[in-house]
Symmetry: D3
Subunit: 299 residues, 6 copies
């Protein structure tokens, strides 16, 4: 029996037929017939492995899916899965394993043992999705690895800012930067995903502060000042009540975390917008930048 791997572009369904249109790795289109109601196994924009049987109708070869498996849960090797992700999805502008190596280096450079232990525990619990998730469904870093890539650039900004303001606490900044958006992996269901019920009702700020408390409790560290500060940095990192933070930043580190999160979302988006704009012209209106258009100088 034949296997085919493809990304679902559209589904057509009538009273007595059900088809899906796929894009294959080589960008070609491919039509596959489905058993009635098997369309509920598919999600548009996602990649699946289809086991096919063939038959002829009016002398044209036809394919029918006898099993459908999401690539994530298929038997394929991890290496092969990653190769396929790269082929089918948009990716961070840096290999995911390099991003991972860099972030884990920052994690290992946290000197405060309490912060290191709690951060490591939360990180390891979410690690598998952490390097696949986008940073946001729209607006900025909306590609595979977006969350991790955004985190890494923010860690570099931490280093840059510490060179000028050396009174801030490096460990707290590393820990909170690594964890600040980690609950997005449960707030949003995937690359082309939607907000989950938990995401809508609690949001990643409250969710992550609960995760940190959970990890700290099992380590017996939930009454430490380190964990209190870490939770504060998480819940305050949107900076303003209006943007969903229940508390405004009240430590220097919390204030900086907000700034660099905001800066990176804007300047990374701006960079990519300028790359597709001619010199002497303005970019399109940019959602993450207050819907402003930006000028690309000729000089």
């Amino acid at each position: 029996m034949e296997l085919i791997i493809g990304k679902v572009e559209s589904i057509n369904k009538g009273d007595n037929y059900c088809n899906a249109s796929l894009t294959l790795e080589d960008k070609k289109h491919f039509n596959v017939k489905l058993n009635m109601n098997d369309d509920s196994k598919l999600t548009i924009g996602k990649v699946f492995v289809f086991e096919l049987e063939t038959f002829y109708k009016e002398e044209v070869k036809q394919y029918k899916a006898v099993s459908i498996t999401p690539i994530e849960t298929s038997d394929l090797s991890k290496v092969e899965k990653n190769r396929l992700y790269s082929a089918f999805y948009n990716y961070a502008p840096m290999p995911l394993n390099e991003i991972r190596t860099s972030i884990e280096l920052y994690l290992s450079n946290i000197d405060n043992k309490i912060l290191k232990d709690v951060t490591t525990a939360v990180y390891e619990k979410h690690e598998s999705k952490y390097y696949l998730h986008p940073a946001a469904t729209k607006f900025h870093h909306a590609y595979i690895g977006g969350l991790a890539y955004h985190t890494l650039t923010m860690l570099k900004l931490v280093d840059a800012m510490l060179m000028v303001y050396d009174y801030l606490n490096k460990d707290l900044l590393y820990a909170a930067t690594i964890l600040h958006d980690i609950s997005k992996v449960d707030e949003i269901s995937g690359v082309d995903g939607e907000y989950t019920t938990e995401g809508l009702l609690l949001g990643h700020l409250v969710m992550a502060s609960i995760e940190i408390d959970k990890a700290a409790t099992s380590l017996g560290l939930d009454q430490t000042e380190e964990v209190l500060l870490l939770k504060h940095l998480i819940v305050s990192h949107h900076g303003q009540l209006n943007f969903g933070s229940p508390k405004k930043p009240q430590t220097g580190e919390a204030l900086l975390l907000w700034y660099i999160d905001s800066i990176d979302s804007k300047f990374t988006e701006l960079k990519s917008a300028l790359e597709s704009t001619k010199s002497g012209e303005f970019t399109q209106s940019l959602a993450v930048l207050d819907k402003m258009r930006f000028y690309k100088p000729k000089m």
Copy 2:
């Protein structure tokens, strides 16, 4: 040796003296000398038990404290402590044990077992302070038992509203009403208290949602929809991002909780303001009511 119980009104300290001025149960004033630095054991506005030794200076009898114990941690019986609290502090307009009986009746009337177990666990952990705490340091219900009294009136409002809107979930409303302000006992340090560091950095909304998750985790219930909804009601009960809720109400019960919390803070405060206003005149400007003044009709 003599014992005296009094509320600290003021402390005078110089290079070589240290005194406190007390108010006794019979409203009389009493001066007590302290060992240097013993003033750090006192808090203005709080009641303490003083063990005294007496001596004479220029033929005037003097009293010096040889030990100082906060009434909470003294050897006095619980009955005697409560009698003294009533004598020294402002109290809710209903006996605390009646408030307790009523609230616990509501708790026992929660039918959903998950909600009942989690609510009970969080309630019991905070119970000792729950009936002493004010609902806010300023603005409304600023007296001993204020938190519990405010909660009880809100539970009555839940019953009243359910008579009109019977599609709302009673259990969720009882549970969330009982818990909505419970972390104020850790956010604010006491009747005359100040915000704690944890209170300022996290706030009672996030603190209570963490408490609920902690209790649910130890009961193995943290992945239930009931607990998710309960946490949502807690974090959304200030109604607007601007008022410190990281999420706006997104269930009917959450919306109602916000309304009745807001209504009770306003109408209880208004009642007390009107009681001290003459007919045909306006109250003072009321902080909890947008600084408006309210008219007391003659009719």
Copy 3:
């Protein structure tokens, strides 16, 4: 000659023809030819009685309207008219005569004679339209009897709230609740109606306060405190200057009126939205609820 009763769905008009497409009581469609310019006698969405003559064109039977009468002013009996209203329009979820009986019972329970007389006078002047009008053209209670049904639920909320806050004045609350939206019958022209010029230039708050003053003047009661307070409740019942109240609520009763008006518009709309939503999913975005979507629990 034949009579037919139908609701106007659309009008087609050309240089030398003029037709209307009707829906009949049995939901069937029916085409009627009109004399040129008779289309000005019709309003889309309204029900009319057509007197018809028939003729044949290309062997097809045709109908032409020789007279057109709005159902309101037709010769039909009141009973028949009401039966037809029920058949053609959306209606409050409770029979109109039950709503009327209940509201008039509240009116009769006003003990203060001044308030009772003035309220009765204004009520009776507007009574005929009061039980047909919607509460709003969009947003909430947009059906026949919507205004009266909304008023009745608010009266029940008054009773519920008075059980908890017994210091508020029942008579003032009954009177103002009954009258608060009464001038909507002149502000908006009907069920499918539009704002009238007077409605746009003055609004139902100012219009109703003038109506109350007019009635009170003819009763010689316009200088009483009762009438002043009643007018205040009317003009302040949108609660905020921004929502069109020229004064904010400045009595307890005025504040409560605003709250229950707001609560009923939201919770009645939410009820109906949840009824058409599956458990575990979110409603559509709801205009009257800040465009938020609400979650329907599975529990």
Copy 4:
């Protein structure tokens, strides 16, 4: 028996004495003893006629008031009263009778009979206070005749604007300008006065629209478009919901009325502030001008 006329500056009252300190027409101070509780007959800042008896205490001549009459209700002739008003109060920068003559000329120049009749009726009902009242208790035109003087300047602005925008309706503008603030005479209790209960609960916009409707009703004109437009201009003349207008201006005349009301309150206040400022310096912060300070040029 002696008579003395003076303005009350302060009242001193103890357990067994009660005095008032007056300023006389010649700016001298004068002390008068009162019968206990006669202080309730006085208002600080107002002028009264005192009938005095004299006696000696420790060889000092003393004066005691045996009757106290507000100047308004005293037996003095109208001419004498006006002379005394001028002596004791701040006045508009133009004689009141000239202001009256000018305003009544504008009134007589209203050509539309409906507008003229209704405006005249309302004007005549309020006429006695109209020429004494200030335009506001603080902020602008806070002197006797302030209301009338402000109205007259606005009428001149109407003429000036009509020269440029001749499509606007002169009669409507004259009528509404004359009546726009007329209910301030009942909203505020007098020159040094306070807001009345009616003023606080309804405000002069709603009060005046009711007055217009009352007058129109008794003339049988309350259903005319003229009266509807006049009421609209009155309720919308604060321009924005936020400033207390239940409706925004929706005719050209309504829009202009708002503009010239706003312009005159600002430019008249600015004129007076600049008069007491040196060239090359800034005025004090001006409440009616957004608390801004304005520069007085040297050029």
Copy 5:
């Protein structure tokens, strides 16, 4: 060879053809073929002179443009150009040369020599475009001569206001009114134009204040108070920071300039909207008037 003058309505371009569709002076349509890429010489909405050669394709006469010249830079006489502008574009409701004569009369009536010299210098530098430019691309005065016509009406308003508030400085008001929008000729590229890069990055307020300083510097007048005040009036004439003024008005003249600019943009737009509205109805929603609709009285 043939010449034709037309306004470009649309351009059609394919792999091997390029046409433009024109409107001629007599409103007829005309198709002209272009050399490939000659479309870059055209701007939709602008008038051009086309030199044509003719040929036949399938027996139909065809026209091809061999040269394309914008009407502004063509050889046509100034008189002819102006005649063509009038034929092809919308124009101010008053002949441009009358507007010019009136504005220059105001300019000559500035008595203060410094203000007159600087204003004249800036005016003369921009004069050629000043009488062609619209006042805004959308919203108000969007036609040829709009800028100058708006300026002239504002000058009339200055005269009207000075009759009431004679303490304001006429010279400063004349000068600033003439110059307030002068840099719009460089901020916006023309009648159907778009914002220029300089317009977007600096805006006409900053651009005009730089122009004034440039002119004053070359006259040796840049350190005078007159020039400082003139620059202040320019940068503050949008009245509020939110509307793009870096400083709020801080002289009486600056405040008045803002008011009359705002008044004229609104009342001129309203006039034209009312002209196309029936009595007893409302205008369309008007962008410059907060999107409000205005009522046209029947009276």
Copy 6:
């Protein structure tokens, strides 16, 4: 004759006396008598050289000032003046000549010749005051050299950010950072100074953009894109219209300039506030940080 140098602390003046109270370099107090009206030569908070004559009154030696010279215009050597500034005033936390050397190094590292020439011209014109001025009269960097020190830290932030976002233009950022606040030296009159008339009417954003244009005009560079962009960065560096920028940032460099200006004002102020706060406590409310208080961790 004796000379004394002191900072004026207070001035006492009566009908026939006039004294000043000084602080000397050694922090001692010193009283000096003045000729009547010589107090107008003094400014509180500033340092002056007094030439004294002595005399005896009631056997006490007295000092009278026969001449008064501000230290800036005195005959003292530059070295001596700088020594005195350091002794009498608060200073940037780094020697002024080191700040100067660093800033001039950045200036010399601008590669684009146009930007370098214009920046150098503007810098040299303002250089003398540039190293003495504070960055603001209140809020942040309110000490001698504050402006230059703030500028230098921002230049370091530019370098740090360029390491992460290398697509931004270094030259434009250096030039604009050096010039962004340069007109504060004319907007505010000195260390203890007040806003100047020009500062209030135009503000340092418009003033600096005019200065840049003036310099560019005299170099023949005012039509270059470099100068346009530089002016844009200056006028947009407050980031929002509400904060006084007539245009929002519309290039990446402009956006970054706003961010680092905002960051440095906050983090430098926070640093100094934390230095005077104990671990485990909160700072005072900080004006430049939204009046928030910040927590100083114990960890």
